[in-house]
């Protein structure tokens, strides 16, 4: 399949789903109190955009995700590469990561509310922590999977440690690191929405939660729709980042 027709289908298939939904509600096949038709949801969406409510919530969520991603991925890549290159650091840090990794990221929300308070910091740190795990695990894997012969070329050419880091370890692990960042971006939204359900007065997650609580299902669906669209956009952006950052690994 050509990449153009793949992209076309990527857009058409969710739209098709919305059309079926709309038709099903109009035909009376589904309960419109539970599943308001997409046309109604869109009307609510435009209304919320006009009042500015949408932008405030969207802005709050994007800021938290952005800050969390930046902190989590910077820490993950840096510590990950050091772990990958140093067996000693790996032996020290790996057990801690393995032991804490299985704890569901959303389960730490209450803990972080206690540690960081109910302000912005707790939400950013929940996101950062979740991103950190996938990024560090991918980075370590990436560095360890670099063929030893490339490091031998570096040694044969008498490169310094910093040069080996810059010209071999980092580019060698980059494709895997970027996969980690992609996963991290997805997980960031996931945990953020849950974090915003509790102890927050802004954000897309808050919008969804409040919509449910006051039985304003249109508002809830607007929140879900916005999250879906953003998730999709973030994926597209990450694909572009990958395309330009890893020119030797292009699949299209």
């Amino acid at each position: 399949m050509t990449s153009r027709s793949t992209r076309f289908l990527n857009i058409v298939s969710p739209l098709g789903l919305l059309v079926i939904w709309q038709l099903a509600v109009q035909a009376g096949l589904v309960d419109r109190r539970m599943f308001p038709p997409p046309s109604e949801i869109l009307t609510t969406l435009f209304h919320m955009a006009e009042t500015g409510e949408l932008w405030i919530n969207l802005g709050a969520s994007l800021w938290r995700v952005g800050a969390g991603l930046a902190i989590g991925s910077t820490a993950g890549v840096t510590i990950g590469i050091i772990m990958g290159l140093s067996p000693l650091v790996r032996a020290l840090v790996q057990p801690i990561i393995s032991a804490t990794y299985p704890v569901p990221r959303t389960a730490i929300v209450p803990l972080f509310l206690i540690i960081f308070g109910i302000g912005e910091l707790s939400k950013v740190m929940v996101v950062a922590t979740s991103v950190f795990y996938v990024v560090i695990i991918n980075t370590v894997t990436g560095v360890l999977s670099i063929d030893k012969v490339y490091l031998d070329v570096g040694r044969d050419m008498k490169v310094s440690r910093l040069q080996a880091f810059r010209t071999i370890a980092l580019p060698g692990a980059l494709p895997t690191i970027i996969s980690g960042l992609k996963l991290g971006a997805g997980i960031a939204f996931l945990v953020l929405v849950v974090a915003e359900y509790t102890g927050s007065q802004t954000g897309i997650g808050y919008m969804i939660w409040e919509g449910w609580q006051i039985l304003d299902l249109d508002q809830m669906y607007v929140g879900l729709l916005v999250i879906a669209v953003i998730g999709w956009l973030v994926n597209l952006i990450m694909d572009e980042v990958e395309y330009f950052a890893v020119p030797w690994h292009r699949h299209r």
């Binding site: 063929d147 012969v149 490339y150 031998d152 070329v153 570096g154 040694r155 044969d156 050419m157 008498k158 490169v159 040069q163 010209t167 071999i168 580019p171 060698g172 980059l174 890893v246 020119p247 030797w248 690994h249």
Partner: protein, 278 residues
């Protein structure tokens, strides 16, 4: 003159011979594989003169790569020592062409070729000139900006050869560098290698399974035994230089030497395959 020595140091009773570039004495290397020691090299000694072209042949798995890696300083011997003389500290002492090519997938062809120069801070303009020169010699001019995954196996091998040649070391260690090349490119590269070697007065160690390559290139041909690798025989190559591959094949000395080497090599290959007692 700077002496670079192996781990065991220089033995006191060695007499000083100024034109010896690489002195290998009693070299033994064993690898720990599980609970066993695999002896790859055993008590191997060889003196290589400055500017000499040494070709090493031997059965697969006899320790050729191991020997080259120790000489290049990439692995440590278990016993014995290697002393290399570094004549010009401004130049790299040795550079290796790896059996696996080891072309960096994340650098373009030109970045790969200039890698050694860039790492030791050679100015950009000078690097450009060298890269241009080797892109031409290797027939890669149209591929300067290409990434290795866009190249064929033979082209990647030429990139790895160019990267080593461009680094301009005193000692070139080459581990089956022409194995993935087609006959035509190989003929061109053989001439190019001979030219670079003679013009820049390099000392060359070259591993191959091809007696043709050995006879065209070598001053001396070292035949190794099956594992554990020792020296089975050393042949001086009497063929006059410059050597053209189609001309030297007609030289009676070519056939005679080929046959002599093959007689010894055949026995070692059979031993390595377990078809003759070691």
């Amino acid at each position: 003159m700077v002496m670079t020595e192996g781990r065991a140091g220089i033995e006191a009773d060695q007499k000083y011979e100024p034109d010896i570039k690489i002195r290998i004495t009693g070299l033994t290397k064993s690898f720990r594989v599980g609970a066993q020691d695999v002896v790859a090299l055993q008590d191997l000694s060889l003196n290589i003169k400055a500017g000499e072209f040494i070709v090493i042949v031997g059965p697969s798995g006899c320790g050729k790569t191991t020997l080259l890696r120790i000489v290049a300083g990439l692995d440590r011997q278990s016993h014995g020592h290697v002393v290399r003389q570094h004549a010009d500290p401004k130049k790299p002492l040795s550079t290796m062409i790896f059996q696996e090519h080891a072309v960096f997938p994340w650098f373009s062809v030109e970045k790969n070729i200039e890698y050694g120069l860039r790492m030791r801070g050679v100015p950009k303009r000078e690097r450009r000139a060298t890269v241009e020169q080797f892109l031409g010699k290797m027939g890669l001019r149209d591929y300067a900006k290409a990434y290795p995954h866009q190249l064929s196996g033979g082209m990647k091998q030429r990139v790895s050869i160019a990267r080593a040649f461009a680094n301009d070391p005193e000692i070139l260690c080459m581990d089956e560098p022409f194995a993935a090349l087609d006959e035509q490119n190989k003929a061109i590269m053989l001439e190019e290698l001979t030219r670079i070697w003679s013009e820049t007065l390099k000392t060359a160690l070259f591993i191959t399974h091809s007696l043709d390559e050995a006879l065209i290139l070598a001053d001396r041909i070292v035949v190794m035994t099956s594992r554990p690798g020792r020296i089975a025989a050393i042949f001086d190559n009497p063929l006059p230089r410059p050597r053209k591959s189609y001309e030297i094949r007609r030289d009676p000395a070519y056939g005679k030497l080929s046959a002599e080497i093959w007689d010894i090599l055949r026995v070692e290959v059979l031993k390595s395959r377990g078809e003759l007692p070691a």
